[in-house]
């Protein structure tokens, strides 16, 4: 209530600076948590996966094709898991890339302001649909549908429907992010293009998209990283059988699904199997970290171009 006091003295108030510095310190600690968490993460994965890599060489882990951490003969080649992840995210990108990009172009370039005003929040709402719901949809709707319409021999768990639904799941994110980027391309560029007699398509293709390219790339790298890290859809719909080579219509196991598989199984804490999830987790963490960092720096460079 210092401000309310009548006749404020203009003398320095040492208490005031102590308080200010204290508050500043508190806020700094809050922000420093980002460093602490990252440090913990690295520490946890380093110590957790150490017993694993003491026993299994990195070469065996990354380059051999049999993953059998529970059933004798034990074997720790993660390629089936990596293959499962690559296959499902590949299918997801095939869905999300064209649909996301085209819908972003529609929203930014063609939709009337009213349509845009309605669709953007809807997109955000859809981006919030939890992944278990998508998993449910993949397993109990998309797989039977694919079986009836296209692939009679598709199995109950399979990479295809998990991948397709994964694509649908990251679609709102991919679309929304790339729409932001496309929308941010300065108006003058478009108008200059129209002034030269270009059609809308030519403007989009030759002017807007090249200008927004790096941002769109960043958006899709982010969506890709989301798809790689996405867990519940693949755990529910893709199955839990590591297979090499992974097959479209057969069960596959992804890196994330394997972690869930161990966590839901009855392996005892402290058993060697637990150290495998650190190794798999570390691989996942490093992959997404690299992708996110690339995306971060692309966005940073892109922002500076127009601001």
């Amino acid at each position: 209530m210092r401000q309310a006091r009548q006749g404020v003295s203009l003398q320095a108030q040492p208490g005031r600076y102590i308080k200010e510095n204290f508050i500043r310190g508190v806020f700094f600690v809050c922000a420093f948590f980002a460093v602490i968490i990252t440090g913990f993460t690295i520490f946890v994965f380093a110590t957790g996966s150490a017993p694993f890599f003491a026993k299994v060489s990195l070469r065996e882990f990354l380059l051999t094709t049999r993953w059998s951490p529970l059933i004798e003969p034990l074997s720790y080649g993660a390629l089936p898991l990596i293959g499962g992840t690559v296959l499902t995210t590949g299918i997801a990108l095939l869905v999300a890339l064209p649909l996301g990009l085209l819908s972003a172009i529609y929203l930014s370039e063609y939709a009337s302001p009213n349509v845009r005003r309605v669709l953007k929040p809807i997109l955000e709402l859809l981006a919030g649909i939890p992944s278990v719901v998508f998993g449910y949809f993949a397993l109990l709707y998309v797989t039977p549908l694919l079986k009836d319409l296209f692939f009679p021999d598709i199995e109950f768990w399979n990479a295809l429907s998990a991948g397709l639904v994964l694509g649908i799941a990251i679609l709102p994110l991919a679309s929304s992010l790339s729409e932001d980027v496309i929308y941010a391309v300065p108006r003058e560029l478009r108008e200059a293009s129209y002034a030269l007699g270009a059609t809308r398509f030519e403007t989009v293709r030759r002017v807007v998209l090249p200008a927004a390219f790096s941002g769109i790339a960043a958006a899709f790298i982010l969506a890709l990283s989301r798809a790689i890290g996405e867990t519940m859809i693949v755990a529910i719909a893709a199955g839990q059988t590591p297979t090499w080579p992974p097959h479209l219509l057969k069960p596959v196991e992804t890196l994330t699904a394997y972690i869930v598989n161990v966590a839901t199984g009855d392996a005892e804490a402290g058993a060697f199997v637990w150290s495998t999830i650190f190794a798999v987790g570390a691989l996942l963490f490093v992959t997404t970290l690299i992708l996110n960092t690339i995306s971060y720096f692309i966005v940073k460079r892109f922002r500076e171009q127009y601001e």
Binding site: K19, R24, V26, F27, F28, V29, C30, A31, F32, A34, V35, I37, T38, F40, V44, F45, G48, L99, L102, S103, Y106, L107, Y110, L119, L125, G128, P130, S131, V132, V133, F134, G135, Y136, F137, L140, I168, L171, S175, T199, F201, E202, V204, S225, G229, E230, T231, A235, I236, T256, I259, V260, A263, F278, G281, L284, F285, T288, L289, N292, Y296
Partner: protein, 479 residues
């Protein structure tokens, strides 16, 4: 007009191409939205069966799927596993061990048949027909076995007084051979054959039982089916309320509920908010209001945006190691909440920073000009203006946390919980994980309650996200 024809044609083509492309983009948007709409409609459609499931449960019936196996053929039938005391079902005479045969004249073979039929019947009083359990329909049935364990014959040792068998004139010592051509090869199978034979008739009627008495083959007409009207109340709100407030039942899908999951979600997400809001907003204030551009703040910013992209299952592993093991909090509510706090911290920081960034510097300068300290500027001027934006970010992080399943699976939320949590280390489960559990169960009706639970989850998320979007639009200010 002296325009070259080739030029004119190319102009037309460019124009058409542009139109086609516009059409293509609109189609892509529509396809994306339509797929998501199909998802929502599918979830709602499957979840709707909850109403019928709750109706049979409320009438006092717990149902189970059984089947009669004959060679390669399998004939499923619906058995009444349990009847609640004093319920409507008990009053009309249904007992444990009975088999449901028809609803309003329509044969029912599976649980889903029962619920679909109940769903489509418009009146409340449903004509239900059933066959009494073996001991009340027939009596004591014994299978005679030869040395190798093969059934030689199935003998009716005792006929229950007042039973359908007695009315049909069956006597103790009769050998049961077949029911409407379905051979009887076991003591329990005698009754099952009668159930299947009765159901296969287009309308209620007698089954022809082939028996052997005094070395003579006889054919007896057995009226096995009983009929009565049962009140099945189909009420959406009641079904939903019962579903949310009931505990999970591992045996019966229609008696399963979300209670422990709802409690778990509330506790975990509530606790998470207590941790993440001060921490996240504090970090955002530091980065926006206090920090100079040093290597450390740059590092913090890069790390935050990286943490935002770390897969959620990774946080599960970190939470398990740090909170559950190193801090000895075990795999319980508190560990779950702290793990979700790690997960949502970047979301809150980023959203709050954006909210703070929209406040123009003139507001700060004006406050400094009258002698305010930095904290006073933040506390009395910047924060109040940024509040709606920060609040929006917090709500978004809550809704993200409510839908999150993967990290909590590692923190022990994948389990059967049938009590309300009391302490911070108590085991728990949350709504998305309950859905995951149900989806992976093959039992009939589980998919439907999984859909119903998804619907509950979607409604919660729609409400929270909708609120966030509303707040943003309502309080959006232009400076």
């Amino acid at each position: 007009m002296n325009v070259d024809r080739g030029f004119r044609r190319s102009l037309l083509w460019r124009h058409t191409k542009s139109k086609l492309f516009a059409f293509l983009t609109a189609t892509a948007t529509l396809v994306g939205l339509a797929t998501l709409a199909v998802l929502l409609i599918n979830v709602a459609g499957n979840g709707r069966l909850l109403v019928a499931m709750n109706a049979t449960a409320e009438a006092g019936l717990a149902l189970a799927l059984r089947s009669l196996e004959r060679g390669h053929e399998v004939f499923p039938y619906v058995r009444v596993s349990d009847v609640q005391e004093g319920s409507a079902a008990e009053q009309i005479g249904l007992r444990r061990g009975d088999a449901l045969v028809r609803l309003n004249g329509q044969a029912v073979a599976r649980l889903s048949d029962v619920w679909r039929t109940v769903q489509t019947i418009s009146e409340e009083r449903v004509l239900i027909s059933w066959i009494a359990g073996s001991d009340r329909l027939l009596g004591d049935v014994r299978a005679e076995v030869d040395d190798e364990g093969h059934v030689v014959k199935v003998v009716l040792d005792y006929v229950t007084p007042g039973s359908a068998a007695e009315r049909a004139g069956l006597q103790p010592g009769d050998v049961l051979r077949s029911a409407d051509g379905i051979p009887i090869q076991g003591s329990r199978q005698a009754w099952e054959a009668i159930v299947i034979a009765t159901r296969q008739k287009p309308s209620p009627g007698p089954v022809t039982l082939e028996i052997e008495r005094d070395e003579q083959i006889l054919h007896v007409a057995l009226y096995a089916e009983q009929e009565a009207r049962l009140v099945l109340r189909k009420d959406w709100w009641r079904a939903l309320w019962d579903f949310i407030t009931r505990y999970e039942s591992p045996r019966y899908a229609e008696l399963s509920g979300l209670r422990s999951a709802v409690f778990g979600s509330l506790y975990v997400v509530g606790l998470m908010a207590i941790f993440v809001v001060p921490l996240g907003v504090g970090a955002a204030i530091y980065l926006e209001e206090y920090a100079q551009r040093t290597w450390l703040t740059n590092l913090i910013q890069v790390l935050i945006s990286n943490l935002a992209g770390v897969p959620s299952v990774i946080y599960g592993i970190i939470g398990l190691e740090i909170f559950a093991r190193a801090f000895a909090l075990e795999r319980g509510i508190l560990s779950g909440a702290l793990t979700l706090a790690l997960l949502t911290l970047p979301v809150v920081i980023i959203a709050s920073r954006e909210a703070l960034r929209t406040i123009p510097d003139s507001v700060r300068q004006a406050a400094y000009a009258v002698g305010a300290t930095r904290w006073q500027v933040v506390r009395h001027h910047v924060l109040p203006y940024a509040m709606p934006g920060i609040f929006t970010g917090v709500i978004l992080s809550l809704s993200r946390a409510i839908g999150e399943a993967a990290p909590l699976i590692l923190l022990g939320a994948f389990q059967y919980v049938a009590f309300d949590p009391r302490g911070l280390k108590d085991p728990f489960t949350v709504i998305p994980i309950q859905i995951f559990t149900w989806v992976t169960l093959p039992q009939e009706g589980r998919a439907n309650i999984a859909a119903a639970a998804s619907l509950v989850l979607l409604i919660i998320l729609l409400a929270t996200n909708g609120l966030a979007i509303f707040l943003r639009i309502r309080f959006q200010r232009r400076w």
